[in-house]
Symmetry: C2
Subunit: 219 residues, 2 copies
């Protein structure tokens, strides 16, 4: 079954992303640490893969990088417990939750939905499918991101406020998760702007020689 997830991006019907899931990142944007997961969506038209570019919409000037650990659903699930949650996972990926921060701040100030600031075309640069067997949820994965060779973000999935099983249990209480769906689990501290012409490199490393790297140019 997990084999059909190799092309999860074309099967995927929804990308559910989690905000403020690392305390240091919540603080750096002046936000409090949430008591429940903060969830929003990105459309699947947001996917972009190497060697294509991240395209900044005209007139936007504060596009931020957010490197995130992605969880890909295999078995459809609805209202599963934390204990059952892991069985619904098919695999993982590395992804970026590109965010137009000025626009997001305006939307937040006005109590408006975040979609435009988070869901534009190429706002979800995404890596390849990594089968579930390659990463143990009980281990910690190091996520990092460089802009033009300078380290900007580095964090460990063990520092998530809500763990992967917490997130699947919470989301599936309200929203059925389906084969191919992607959950972006939040970004560690260090988010910041990118400009046209910048090179973003992002990677993750962990147990059993896990080493994944991806590169995107900003256009």
């Amino acid at each position: 079954m997990a084999d059909s997830l190799k092309n999860f991006r074309s099967i995927c019907k929804k990308i559910i992303a989690v905000g403020r899931n690392y305390s240091e990142h919540a603080s750096e944007l002046g936000n409090t640490v949430p008591t429940k997961p903060i969830i929003f969506m990105k459309p699947t038209t947001a996917f972009v893969t190497e060697p294509n570019d991240i395209r900044i919409p005209a007139d936007w000037d504060e596009l931020h990088h957010e490197v995130e650990f992605g969880v890909i659903i295999d078995k459809q699930c609805q209202n599963v417990s934390k204990e059952e949650a892991e069985a619904s996972i098919g695999g993982y990926c590395l992804a970026l939750d590109m965010t137009e921060r000025n626009l997001q701040n305006e939307l937040k100030d006005q109590g408006l939905p975040w979609l435009l600031s988070k869901g534009f075309d190429t706002s979800c640069p995404c890596g390849d499918f990594i089968p579930k067997e390659k990463i143990s949820l009980s281990s910690s994965v190091n996520l990092w991101l460089n802009v033009n060779g300078n380290r900007k973000q580095s964090g460990h999935t063990r520092d998530m406020i809500f763990s992967v099983p917490d997130l699947i249990a919470y989301i599936s209480k309200y929203i059925t998760l389906e084969h191919g769906d992607l959950i972006l689990t939040g970004t560690p501290a260090g988010v910041g702007p990118v400009r046209r012409g910048d090179l973003i490199e992002a990677g993750m490393e962990g147990e059993h020689d896990l080493k994944y790297l991806m590169k995107f140019n900003v256009a």
Copy 2:
């Protein structure tokens, strides 16, 4: 091509909904009239069709009905002009944008995304595909909704702040619209709560004997 849209709900990859697109509805919730479309997403797992029920999640007690005119995309489009927009349409449908108002108000007050209040399972009761030829965009469609036989909402699509071509042009500037995607164009005034056991009837009428009716029980 439009023929394959009969089952648009299973092809659909995204539901993009528009907030405050009728001035009287914006006013009834104490909001100002927007100068740009307000957009958010509902996942496709939100679809529910007759004879299934709208299910209110446990502990929620202020679920509101919003009757809306739906536009179904046929031809993929990106950054189209208002003039080109109509050519991308495959058809229309009647739909409800069910909203947990207390939760939405909390999320708005905190500057948080609306997804949970708008995207839970069964939050998008949806009717059948109506081919584009059946409804002229230059005419006006009357939308209405009854709860337990009492008229709660009634409005005309001519009163939309942003027209269907306006919305397609605006959204497609940022987010590529694909075959089967659904745009919910906002609700007229009269939104209000439903309780478990209520019967919702919604309909639309227009030129050329257009008459569509759908019924949902709230469970």
